[in-house]
């Protein structure tokens, strides 16, 4: 069983305490930070991809139907996607609704 990072003995860490698992930051759920969440009206979505391109988290992913879905584990609810969306089909709703 692998020990948690704050349970290892001093000699059980990598050389120079480097991190050799690329992109392992995804383990950290920044989605827990948000107080509002994006929601798309898929009927109005023109599949332009602007939201995907301007998300600072990279938390917008291409869906099978060509529209875009939100990675809610990481979305911080900043609202840039809603602001930049060309048709205004993304709205920010309060978390917990």
């Amino acid at each position: 069983m692998t020990k948690k990072f704050n349970e290892k003995a001093w000699h059980e860490y990598e050389l120079g305490f480097m991190v050799s698992q690329p992109g392992c930051a995804t383990e950290y759920r920044t989605g827990d930070w948000r107080s509002q969440r994006p929601q798309t009206n898929k009927d109005k979505c023109i599949k332009c991809g602007v939201c995907y391109l301007v998300c600072p988290e990279g938390a917008i992913v291409l869906a099978a139907d060509g529209t875009y879905d939100f990675d809610l584990e990481h979305c911080k609810g900043c609202g840039i996607c809603a602001t930049e969306c060309w048709t205004g089909c993304i709205s920010m709703v309060e978390e917990g609704e």
Binding site: A9, F17, M18
Partner: protein, 392 residues
């Protein structure tokens, strides 16, 4: 096939770096290190050394570039002195934490102010706690040999720490001495190619230098400390192997006429050779029981070897060539006292500061130091340190 050559010590060091087939050199000129890097850039320009010579715009960048070249997997070398060492201070702490085996020559020179280009140990003493391995050379042959050995020690997978080879600026770096060079075939047999454990390579992406959160910082420092302490064993191994292959033996603590001595004089660096003359005079002419002890290895501090070399002496007179202002002793004397404290029959440790900023320590000075130390020991004088050779 050994060649014996009369050459300036700086150039002998450059020859060692060339024989080590270094990949990258990033250095900034500062007196009295200049001849080393000048000769290295000549060697590169003439195609005799296949290395990248990066003429950086400051010592801080020199060590930063070294971090980059070493992390990329290149065998890396630099050299500096005094103010240059002070300027790269910030980065010096980071190199061992990243486990980068950079080799650096320090041509020891006094730290400003006032500004001085002359020799003392204030520069190396100011970086004592940076986590580097530090070794002292007393003559040109040692400077050549130790430079070659440094790559092997630093790059050993059990070590992977940076190492400084210290030699006295001007008084050693700029003198012409006889050196027995090794040829390339011999060096290649002794020093294999550098095989990094990890390097910056897109095929296996790593992040080096991540944020050391409190949950792991203590473990990181403990790890560094244990590796540094453990490097003494590797150093001894490399010394032994060098001795076997090339017939010159090095020890972490060296003694001279110490058997049967009641008083030992301790020095570091090239003044040791003058001190040996003083010892000879005291023993042969005046029938005194005095010997010389030198710390070749400064970091990790060879405490066990030091204790083992005491042999029941009564007095140890330590000559430091740097001041710890308002402190308890010269830097070396303080560590020596600390290592000997609480041992059975610990000798009286007298701390003297001499030879600052290029001031010579003469044979008579050494004799006076021994006289004074023995008197202080007999009187059990409580003291911190005494600066000698100063006009009052």
């Amino acid at each position: 096939m050994a060649k014996r050559v009369g050459i300036e010590v700086s150039l002998a060091i450059s020859e060692a770096v060339k024989l080590a087939n270094v990949d990258a050199i990033a250095a900034y000129p500062i007196t009295p290190q200049t001849h080393i890097v000048e000769h290295l850039s000549e060697l590169v320009a003439d195609g005799e050394l296949d290395a990248a010579f990066i003429p950086v715009e400051s010592e801080h960048s020199a060590m930063s570039v070294c971090a980059g070249t070493s992390a990329a997997g290149a065998r890396t070398y630099t050299a500096t002195s005094s103010q240059g060492l002070a300027l790269m201070n910030e980065i010096l702490f980071i190199i061992p934490a990243l486990r980068l085996p950079v080799v650096m020559t320090i041509a020891n020179r006094a730290l400003s102010g006032p500004i001085s280009i002359w020799n003392d140990h204030s520069d190396i003493m100011s970086v004592r706690d940076t986590g580097w391995i530090a070794i002292f050379a007393e003559n040109g042959q040692e400077a050549f040999d130790l430079t070659l050995m440094s790559f092997k020690i630093a790059e050993d997978h059990r070590v992977l720490l940076p190492i400084s080879v210290n030699l006295d600026g001007f008084t050693l770096s700029h003198v012409i001495e006889p050196h027995e060079f090794l040829d390339q075939a011999e060096v290649d047999k002794f020093l294999p190619e550098y095989k990094p454990v990890v390097q910056l390579n897109p095929d296996a992406p790593v992040s080096m230098g991540t944020v050391g959160i409190p949950e792991i910082f203590s473990e990181a420092k403990k790890c560094q400390d244990e590796v540094l302490k453990g490097s003494e064993a590797v150093i001894k191994e490399v010394f032994a192997e060098f001795g076997e292959m090339f017939g010159r033996d090095y020890k972490v603590v060296e003694t001279y006429r110490a058997e049967g001595a009641e008083t030992l004089l301790m020095t570091m660096g090239s003044v040791s050779e003058t001190a040996m003359e003083a010892i000879d005079q005291m023993c042969d002419k005046d029938n005194r029981k005095v010997g010389l002890i030198r710390l070749r290895l400064w970091r990790p501090f060879p405490a066990e070897a030091l204790r083992a070399a005491m042999g029941g002496i009564k007095t140890l007179a330590v000559i430091d060539r740097a001041v710890s202002f308002g402190g308890t002793a010269g830097p070396v004397a303080g560590e020596v006292r600390s290592a000997l404290y609480s041992t059975d029959q610990a000798p009286y440790v007298a701390s003297f500061i001499a030879g600052l900023g290029g001031r010579d320590i003469t044979i008579d000075d050494f004799i006076a130091v021994v006289d004074q130390a023995e008197k202080m020991a007999a009187e059990k004088e409580i003291h911190q340190y005494k600066m000698i050779g100063v006009r009052e």
